[in-house]
Each structure stands twice: as structure tokens, then as C-alpha cells.
Symmetry: C2
Subunit: 270 residues, 2 copies
Amino acid sequence: MRIAVVAPSCRLTEEAAERVQAIAARRGDCEVVIHPQCFLSAGHFAGPDAARLTALREVMADPSVDAVWYARGGYGSNRIAVAALDDIPAAARNKVYLGYSDAGFLHAGFYKAGLEVAWGPMPQDVVRDGGEAAVNRALDWLVSRDPSALEAGLDGPAMAFNLTVLSNLLGTPLEPDFAGVELLVEDIGEHLYRIDRSMFHLTAGEAIRKVRRIRLGRVADILPNDPPFAGDEAAIVEDWCRRSGIPFGGRADIGHDTANRVVPFPLRND
Amino acid sequence: MRIAVVAPSCRLTEEAAERVQAIAARRGDCEVVIHPQCFLSAGHFAGPDAARLTALREVMADPSVDAVWYARGGYGSNRIAVAALDDIPAAARNKVYLGYSDAGFLHAGFYKAGLEVAWGPMPQDVVRDGGEAAVNRALDWLVSRDPSALEAGLDGPAMAFNLTVLSNLLGTPLEPDFAGVELLVEDIGEHLYRIDRSMFHLTAGEAIRKVRRIRLGRVADILPNDPPFAGDEAAIVEDWCRRSGIPFGGRADIGHDTANRVVPFPLRND
């Protein structure tokens, strides 16, 4: 299997690239090709918008690429996601797109366009403690669709998003149809009042009220709330589910960490 | 003029309440009545949702109240804003509602419901350096519609919002019709990448593309971007305006500070 790594958001470190390629070499069941765009730098981003878009469209159009693996999150894929949906090449439909966090902008738009996308660990995760396991989990799923890589509670069509990213794509051309899917959300580096505000935003609109259930992944590195918020992240999500009539399904095994599991989006045959 | 202060978001301090009432007493042209709900405390909020909603609806329904002045921002008015729109009492239509920041959730919904709302300084601002001038500016406008209190560049229908608050009300029942208005936005305590993300969210959707122009108020206390973002807040807003075909009108004289000016929303006669 040939896996192309591009960076639609922030820059991949050389260390992460080398370690992921070493893992792939040891496995012997896949080749991980790091696009040179991954190491570009332009302010916050892994190169200017045009360079990130060109690299993404290049691997989408390459029939020899079986999977596109987003290098890392951060911020920036939204700046090229709408343009990436223009005139999707035929070869883009014969591959899978894997990543999480900021990649949610692309996941939303690509799912909407009928491409196969999945939430799951990314190359830059390799530098976290236990990162090799996360990278192998992603590769196990990419290479053989190993069911042990999946979030264990999946029981039907599901999508996973970073909560703040999801909030920022609602109402844009990237917004997909959420009807009937289980929605898994997680977040990192937010105050609890912001988690509450994002959940208001999600659940007050019509788009998210169509989901069949919400489950909450991990909310990491919560910033101090002044004064203390009263109630933790699970109470917040459960409360907004109750207010909006969306079933709350408890916790989910996803997050900005090396235990993060794979959540394939539904395959669309329309 | 009788001005009622309620706190739909966070708690007012006793010091601010006393100082604002002293200013009103010295002026002699208005009475500022602080609702006891302003001093309640429940976690992040000035009392539970029910207490905040009850106080707000009480002053809305009170025919002796000429103006409702939101005590301060913070976070929380969204949790009661939709309920505040139910069965609006007739007396609620004979008064004006003043505040900014988190009060934007109420402003949006109340404007949509045909009430008279305005962006402007709030009681808690009195404790800022130069806060007395900000409070007097708000009172000058409430008491006599003093034009010197207004944002100087207004030349037609306008609305002002905190950028992040506005992003979080799009697509909800609070979202008003933005057709033909000049939109003034400001923010505080965000990273530049978040300003960029919020501007993407705003300008990628249809609702905000109907405005006639966007101007940018102050963006205060910007959090460090790692790596540096490349481009300041004005470049970010101008860029998203250009991408979305919305005219960018330069800077506006609003912000989380004591120079913050009044921006009356359009009066609706429908």
C-alpha cells in the first residue's frame, strides 16, 4: 500500500517524518511517501495556501496513491478545503483520507463530496509518548482495515470531529448531512465555558439535531475557568443533548492523544 | 429615565454597582436600578439560568423601565436567550437594550424579534481605567441619544458584535438577517489563528455575505501564536473580506475598553 503524507495545516517535523518512515519500513506492508510540502513553512502554516492546496490536489489525483494521510493538525486546512473540492479528479475517489483535529474541515467537505474519509492518528503523533502505537494503529487500519483499530463503541454510521472545528464549519459549504449518524466529539486546550458555548452552537442549529446520538471523547488540557465553571465536560455535553433532544451516548475513545482510535465516516454510494 | 441593570452572563461586582449608581446620582438625569440578580453566583454565572432568565424577563415586562442595561459580558446569555424570546411582553417593546460582548447573543435575538438594541459600554466597565467616561458615554446615549457617543464612522444601518460570539450564534434561532447592514466586529483574548478561523466561519456562510461592509474594531490581548501567524488582525479580516467579496471598510472605534463607542442596531418597523 502506498500512503502519501501531505500537510494541509501545520508543518511536519523532520523527526516525526523519519520515525514514521522507519515504522513503515519495519512493518514491510506499506510505503509512506512524505510530500516535500510537509516541511515548508509560511507563518502559521506548512507553506502558503497555494502550496498546500497544490500538494493536496497532487496526491488526490495520483492513481498510485492508495491513501492520503494528513501530517498533523494545528490550523489551516479550512483555508484550502473549499478549493480542494473543485473538479475532484477521478483518482481521488479510489483512496482513503485519514487524520483528525483540524483535518475535520477536509473530512466534512470530502465526505460531502463522496470520498472515503476516517478520523484517526496522524504522523506527527509519533513524537508523543506511546506515539509508535498510535501510528501503527493508523497503519493497521489503512493497510488491512484492522477492526481492532476502531473506536470500540461504533454500532452504525458515525463521524468524529474536534468540537471547535465542527462549530467553525457549520453553515459553510463544507457542512455535510449529519442525518442518522452518531457524532463523536473531542477537544483540547479550551476553557469549559468555551466547550459550553460550542455545544450551544452545535445543538441550537438544525444540522446537528439530525444526528442519532452524541458521544464525548476526551477533552484534554482544559484551561482554568474563572470562576470555576460548575460541572465537567461530560455534564456540559449531556446538558446540551438533553436541552436539544439529542440522545447522549456517554464517552468515546478518541482524543488528542496516542489512545485515539479510528472512526471511519460512512461510505456514500449516492 | 429609569435604567434597569440585569446580568444575563456573569456576576456584577458590588464596587462597580456602587460606582455606577454614584455617577447616575451626580448626573441627576437618570436612575440606575441594579436588580439583585446581578450579585447571584452559580459557578461561572450570575445565578442559575432560571434566575437570570426570570430577572431579564421581569425588567423586560416592567413598563416603568425605560432601558435594560446588561451588567457585564463574560459568558452565558446564550443559555437563556432563546427562552427570553418566548411570548415577548408588550412593555418589552417600549425600551432599549444596551451592552456588548456576550450580550451579542441577546442583541441578535432581540433585534430579530423587533426590539431596540445597541452595542455599548456596560456597568462593569466602570472599574477599568477611564471607566467613568465609558459609563457616562453609555448614559449620555441612553438618556438623550447623544450623537457624540456613537461610533464616528456609522453611515447607515449597522450592527456590532464580538467576533467569536457572532461565530457561535450563526445557524441558531438567534441569527438575524444581516442583509444590507454594516457589520462591526472586535475581539479579545484570542490567538490570531482563531481570529482567522472565525473569519473563515463568518465569511464562508451565506448569512454574513449579505452585509454591505465589514469594519474591524480593536482586537485586544491577542494570545501568542506559535509559530508567529504572519499578518495582523486587520490583514486577516481584509483577506477574508476579499476572498468572500465583502467590502472591507477599515477600522472601527469599538472594543473591550473604555473608548468603546455606541452602535445602535437598525430599528425595525416590520
